[in-house]
Subunit: 586 residues, 2 copies
């Protein structure tokens, strides 16, 4: 009834029902222009990421059609462009390569299964509002992982760029092979690859400022810089065709089937369900990692772009939309997709306003798949490799190491571990080790909380750390402030600390725990408090609590602690000291 | 030089150098008496736990000798008694049973390897001061695990108690078999087992109060109650010998080799190192879990007993001592050991003062192994099973479920998951799931911290939650208090919350984050604060911080945040509001 102002539940699940009603000619124009720009950029990029994932070129085009349309139905971002992305393509190659030989039918089927599994996992996580799981990928872990992935991707492309045989999923495998095989590099391939690489780097760094110096307008220079990679591509196709490089052993894209994506069902080649089921069991862990990495990339890009326009995106809606997109990719000859950084930024810059731009881009790519593919026959794989390398080198963030080292050593450890293991072992090992390390380091940090002995700031009702301030301590009373929530990882430390502090103060008759920074007390910490209370009581010392926060106090009332407590609970620490000090025979 | 008052580094590693110098006749008497009591108790208990671990009876005696002597060298507790314990024996049976068939030479060798690995892991963890890792076993996880283990142990003993064939490591395997095989139970075995069980339960519950009612002194009644299980054992040996029960198919302990423990080296049966290496790879995860569970049990018992005498134990020293003990067990025909609850309590009650009591106990058990083993030939396994069942039923804590449910639902989930999976799948799965669940639940709880909008309590400089108190808000200023440290799991939530709060207050020009409850800001949260600052700035809103704690402020100074911050850092929230309010054209 009131559809435009407050979205209904159906509209929250399918935002297209909301923005679709308000669609008009001006939005159509903006989205249409953006779609043309993005289509031109996506044709080479899709082919390149298919190459990176170890799949036939057309898989890259297919993976950019159905997902874009499906994302438009459920996505909450107006500018996110969904399709193959660098890091998820590398992860696809690593995980699919572990279960099938590259180039085989089984490899293609495994990539489809991976997309289906990622899609299903994302849909389930989105429906169960588990988007917060992506938060477990800390910034240092993501940063180390993305930088290492960029280097790995670049290294993996050397085989196409130079025409040397290379197999492996980490630098420890790739680099020695490169060293041994460097003498057998294929000269025409290397010439084409290195030439394209040099030209692309030159264009990226010099074209825009150069044109501006020549008096070209900023807008035109920008457009030229964006179109330049397509020109490099066309140039290398022309050279390859004229000199018949394929006959000299330069690998080219070759025949790309003309037409729209096929419908691909799991078990299609065998007809049975046993093989797909076994495949799903082998691939679900990589699928989960790809889902999380893809989701984090997509949400980060989507939130940054939305914030620039004062819009917001809904992470759980994004999960569902990406899930549907991946299901679409898995059923239409593609491989895992996500909201990619470069394509989304181009889409945003080109003026896209709604997900309809994605639908138009899909139409553009469909036209390309129908009519342009014969033109791609002579495109050298070395040129695509050069395209990938230029793109992924922007992923490598060298400065993050120094910044993180200066800021926090624990974060640096997680960063270095993720970076090192991703390079030396592989993407899965790096990611899992990084997440485990950041959780363990968190638990370690909070397992030894800061516990200060506090005394009264003279003339006030404030109590501060005796080591940092000149304060008064009442004999017989030990005031302790715990600067952390109490939970299983630090419960025993609290027991030890209190025992140690009481042991060096034989005159103490009262211990007052100031709980102003305690946001929670879990069952393990409750158990420890009961133990501390009993042990202190056995040695003639009373345990008191002060400044217990409302929710914590409410919860403690549901336990036996308050009934068993040898002392009392005071509203303020000062009240505790006032009540306990005078009556105390020291 | 000053050895007695301040222990040297060597004495911290080998506490025997400290207490050994002060050893005297009165300590000798106390320790000697305790040793006699514990030896009498340990003979049946050691045999029973060997049976539980699936090993020959002598392994239980061997595992109680070398470990006790080695613990005495490095242990910091004067009363802990080291040897096989119920839960670690069950875990041994589960993990060794997964790599070798019970009764085979390979099974015994795997148990030795498990002890060696546990010992090595504990020594490494102790040397690296990783004792805090045991804190990751939260109280609900330990509680659920121990209760489920008690039930599992009792169920696993039904095969010996009733003489029915049963194989399996969880209730889902054991119970259906029990149901099917109940008709084929062995009548003489069941009679002996159930008879012993009834007698032991009767003795445990009625003997002490009964004797007291008959006018026997409390001390004598206590001694009788402790000696009664040995009497039940002797009675069943006598019955078994007289009626020649072994010939009627009742399984008896049989021939136990007379003599001291052999030296057992890994690879002993094959002579090579390949097989032990493969075995070590297969067993290191179970060894780690056994180490952690054993360490937690040992430290809990040790701390409780030490506190009763106003003594303290050193958890890292305990880890090293237990590590050495397990190495000893692995090299002398034993299996994984720990500081057991029941034997340590008996040792304490009997008056043990130093680890020398353990050395004397080891001598007592050596004498038993040399001279008493022929007397054990006729001991029915059903009696040992009854001994185990009576002992482990005290492990089951029914009340913990209701208590934890009332206190904290998250802890209840971890408790139930650990309990359920341990029973339904097995000890390893239960423990791993429990630890994972408690970490995930912790991250989930802290990933959505309480963030309050704060306003001024009229007439004061205090700021409180606007939802809970009547407070004044300055137009144009949004004060937010975050009740949690900021780290990777809640960094994005903070971004979302601030964006949402600003979005509903179009007039806001200043956001002031009150950081009084923020004990830490990690690199991910720093990144989020920078993002928040940039986004707010882009929409004309300044970000300020107030009441930043000293260590947090020190760390922020090493980042770019303070330089890029659009606003300022204020000492108190009130100063922030005073500085920002008057100059603001609302």
């Amino acid at each position: 009834m009131n559809a435009v102002s407050t979205p209904t539940a159906l509209q929250r699940w399918f935002p297209i029902l909301d923005w679709g009603r308000r669609y008009n000619r001006s939005l159509l124009t903006a989205d249409g222009v953006a779609a043309v720009v993005v289509t031109l950029m996506l044709i080479p990029q899709s082919l390149a990421y298919a190459l990176l994932a170890g799949l036939p070129a057309q898989a890259g085009l297919y993976a950019s059609m159905a997902p874009l349309v499906l994302y438009a139905l459920m996505g909450s971002s107006g500018t996110l462009a969904v399709g193959p992305a660098a890091v998820t393509s590398l992860m696809t190659a690593a995980s699919v390569g572990a279960v099938a030989a590259q180039g085989s039918v089984a490899y293609t089927e495994a990539a489809l299964m991976l997309a289906l599994l990622s899609g299903a996992l994302m849909l389930v996580m989105g429906a169960a509002r588990l988007g917060f799981l992506a938060n477990f990928l800390s910034h240092p872990v993501i940063s180390g992982f993305v930088s290492a992935s960029g280097l790995l991707i670049a290294a993996s492309q050397l085989k196409h760029l130079l025409g040397v045989p290379l197999h492996g999923e980490n630098l420890l495998q790739l680099l020695p092979q490169l060293w041994h095989n460097l003498s057998s590099l294929h000269v025409p391939t290397s010439a084409m690859g290195l030439g394209a690489l040099a030209l692309l780097l030159l264009v990226r760094r010099q074209l825009k400022p150069g044109l501006k110096r020549l008096g070209v307008s900023a807008g035109a220079a920008d457009l030229a810089a964006k179109a330049a990679p397509v020109v490099v591509l066309l140039l290398s196709i022309a050279l390859s065709a004229v000199w018949q490089l394929a006959e000299q052993g330069v690998r080219v894209v070759g025949t790309v089937p003309q037409g729209l994506p096929p419908l691909t069902l799991p078990g299609g080649s065998t007809g049975g369900w046993a093989a797909p089921w076994a495949l799903a069991q082998a691939l679900w862990v990589p699928a989960l990692l790809i889902s999380l990495v893809g989701f984090v990339e997509s949400v980060s890009v989507g939130q940054s772009l939305a914030a620039k326009r004062r819009e917001r995106i809904d992470p759980d809606a994004e999960l569902r939309a990406l899930g549907l997109s991946n299901l679409g990719a898995g059923l239409s000859g593609g491989f895992p997709v996500t909201g990619g950084f470069s394509r989304s930024v181009v889409n945003f810059d080109a003026g896209a306003r709604t997900p309809a731009a994605g639908i138009f881009t899909a139409v553009g790519l469909a036209l390309a798949a129908l009519f342009l593919t014969p033109w791609l026959f002579h495109l050298p794989q070395a040129t695509l490799a050069a395209t990938i390398m230029v793109a992924v080198l922007t992923l490598v963030d060298v400065g993050v190491f120094a910044r993180t080292w200066h800021y926090a050593k624990a974060d640096f450890i997680a960063l270095l571990l993720t970076f090192g293991l991703t390079l030396a072992v592989g993407v899965e090992a790096g990611l899992i080790a990084g997440v485990s390390a950041s959780v363990l380091l968190l638990l370690y940090r909070t397992s030894r909380p800061h516990i200060a002995v506090v005394g009264q700031v003279p003339g006030t009702e404030h109590y501060r750390n005796v080591l940092r301030h000149v304060v008064l301590e009442q004999p017989g009373i030990l005031g302790l402030r715990v600067d952390e929530s109490l939970y299983f990882a630090n419960a025993r430390f609290l027991e030890d600390t209190i025992a140690a502090q009481v042991a060096v103060r034989p005159g103490v008759r009262h211990v007052v725990l100031q709980c102003s920074a305690v946001n929670d007390i879990d069952a393990s910490a409750l158990e420890s408090l009961e133990t501390i209370n009993a042990r202190l009581q056995a040695s003639g010392v009373q345990l008191h609590l002060s400044e217990v926060k409302g929710p914590v106090h409410d919860r403690l009332k549901r336990s036996h602690l308050l009934a068993e407590l040898s002392g009392q609970v005071f509203l303020t620490h000062h009240q505790a000291v006032m009540a306990l000090a005078p009556s105390e025979p020291v």
